[in-house]
């Protein structure tokens, strides 16, 4: 149930994000979800794409520093307290969240939250047990 995420190093300078996005665009890579974590000097652009291999190839060719890692996605009901419910389960089980980012699907019934925790496998297991829906990779890629 894990989802592949690509993390890209960006200097905090004008035009750098654009350059990376253009590189991916030219290679016909569609981005499903993204977030940026930044400091005053650099940022990390995290993206989820259906064509991971194609994206890696394009980035490599473009001389971009990137890294591939696992995250997972949960579906939470699009209403107040929806996300809190999922996070409480993790907190109760003493699992730290490293970061997360959310987006709303076209159908807008559920919000999708991409999560990275200390222990992804354990997180998926306990969330499932608590009845929280884990969105399979296939579904994420075709959002």
């Amino acid at each position: 149930m894990k989802v592949k995420q690509i993390s890209i190093f960006l200097e905090n300078k004008k035009g750098h994000l654009l350059q990376v996005l253009e590189t991916l665009g030219k290679a016909n890579i569609n981005i499903r979800a993204l977030s940026i974590a930044d400091t005053s000097e650099f940022g990390i652009l995290r993206i989820i794409v259906p064509d991971v291999e194609g994206a890696k190839k394009a980035l490599k060719k473009g001389g971009v520093a990137f890294n591939e890692n696992d995250v997972f996605a949960v579906g939470v009901s699009d209403k107040p307290g929806g996300l809190a419910e999922a996070l409480k389960v993790l907190s109760d089980n003493d699992i730290n969240v490293e970061y997360l980012y959310a987006f709303v699907t076209k159908s807008a019934e559920k919000a999708v939250v991409v999560l990275k925790t200390e222990d992804i496998d354990k997180s998926i297991k306990i969330l499932k047990k608590s009845g929280i829906s884990i969105i399979p990779p296939k579904e994420i890629y075709s959002l």
Binding site: F9, E11, H16, D38, F42, I44, R46, A65, F66, N67
Partner: protein, 433 residues
């Protein structure tokens, strides 16, 4: 009329001086050979004996001495006299590795004082002057070197060292200091503080004796404009004696080397052959009269050129141009000797770091700032900012441990540091020296 400390030594004809130089050279070569095992061994390896020195040109037959040789002899291996005859020691400013130690006999201290008295006189110093000496007192040769020279002249010395800038400015104003001895960058800082305190117009400095770091004509103009003084260049090095090896006179056409005491040559750092007059190369110095630690053909690694001709000041001493660089990669940052190769080694000790980096030196507030830009490699990268920050700090720590100075490490994108064919340009010095 220029003030000249030792009219005879400084103004004699070159012909007369050459006679004295040769006599002293023969004597010192023999003295070093007989008293320092290092020289005896080295001369033998090169199949050379003191009696082979029959002309000044014969000096070229002698092997060079390098900083590494002095380190090998640490601490007292290069001394030519029993330790009890050494009355003072100093060391180089390097904070890492083994420092270079130099030992002075009573006569050497006397010699140092003479050389420095000549230097300060070139800046117009007499017993009427008040010398504010901002060079550090201690193991560094700067402070005491100036001190001994000033005492010889009979000037009033303010042995204040560097630091406490506001107090410096107050004292400079109240005591009516006439000569400032400091690094040129500290002098600039002093001028700024004097300006802020509203005291700059009350300062009576007539000359500044600036050295211990590389500087430029642009900086001279700036210092002269701010303080309305003559900004003059001084040169020296621990291995030879300290400051006083060479000094600029008020003509500001370059530095007069006290060549009857310190014999200069210019060599090509590549072929090690002697270069003709006027050509730029590495300065090599031989101490002609030192007792405690004679230096034979010491490679300074400083790049300059020598020019003869009579100076308007009346001195006939050879003139060396302002030091414009080094034949090795040594830099001086905040007065500390730093080799970029050390920085490279330190950053490569951090896992995942590749040797694509650049060192950028700036001087935003009269203090050197060092930035090391390191390209992010695939191996270093993570999806978490925290982990990248950790690596960045680790590199900073590793470099600080190696060179003893705080640096700022910036992570940059791959291939963003220009690649060059052959020797990479690792250091970008943006200091407006």
């Amino acid at each position: 009329m220029a003030i000249i400390w030792d009219q005879k030594a400084e103004c004699m004809s070159q012909k007369e001086r050459a006679v004295i130089q040769l006599e002293r050279l023969k004597k010192i070569v023999n003295y070093a050979y007989e008293n320092v095992p290092f020289y005896k061994k080295k001369f033998r390896e090169h199949k050379i004996k003191p009696e082979h020195i029959q002309s000044l040109k014969d000096i070229e037959k002698l092997p060079f001495t390098e900083k590494a040789d002095l380190r090998e002899g640490y601490p007292f291996g290069m001394f030519a006299v029993p330790r009890k005859d050494i009355v003072e020691v100093h060391t180089s400013s390097g904070t890492t590795g083994i420092p270079v130690v130099t030992g002075y006999t009573k006569n050497d201290i006397e010699l140092w004082g003479e050389a420095m008295a000549r230097a300060l006189s070139m800046a117009g110093a007499t017993r009427d002057d008040i010398i504010q000496n901002c060079y550090g007192y201690g193991l560094f040769t700067g402070g005491l070197g100036v001190h001994y020279g000033a005492q010889k002249i009979g000037a009033t010395v303010i042995p204040i060292s560097a630091g406490q800038t506001k107090r410096q400015v107050q004292i400079m104003t109240d005591f009516k200091s006439t000569i400032l001895t400091s690094t040129p960058s500290y002098a600039l800082h002093l001028s700024e503080v004097a300006q802020e305190e509203g005291l700059i117009s009350k300062i009576k400095l007539k000359a500044g004796v600036f050295g211990a770091e590389m500087w430029t004509e642009k900086m001279r103009d700036e210092l002269e404009k701010r303080f309305k003084l003559h900004a003059l260049n001084i040169y020296g090095l621990t291995e030879i004696i300290g400051p006083g090896v060479a000094q600029e006179c008020l003509q500001k056409k370059g530095l007069h080397i006290a060549e009857d005491l310190f014999y200069p040559e210019i060599i090509s750092p590549d072929t090690l052959e002697s270069l003709p007059e006027g050509e730029k190369g590495e300065l090599v110095l031989t101490t002609l009269t030192r007792e405690g630690m004679p230096m034979i053909r010491f490679r300074t690694k400083d790049l300059t050129s020598l020019i003869r001709g009579n100076c308007k000041c009346g001195r006939t001493l050879v003139i060396m141009s302002r030091i414009t660089g080094r034949s090795d990669d040594m830099m001086k940052l905040r007065g500390v000797i730093v080799f970029p190769s050390k920085i490279e080694k330190a950053l490569l000790e951090v896992k995942g770091v590749e040797p694509h980096y650049q060192i950028i030196i700036t001087r935003p507030h009269h203090l050197d700032e060092i930035e090391v830009q390191v390209e992010v490699s695939q191996k270093m990268l993570s999806d978490e900012v925290k982990k990248l920050e950790e690596i960045r700090k680790k590199i900073e720590q590793s470099i600080e441990n190696a060179i003893g100075l705080r640096v700022k490490v910036t992570l940059v994108e791959p291939k963003s540091i220009p690649r060059s064919e052959g020797k990479a340009k690792r250091v970008i010095d943006k200091r407006s020296l």
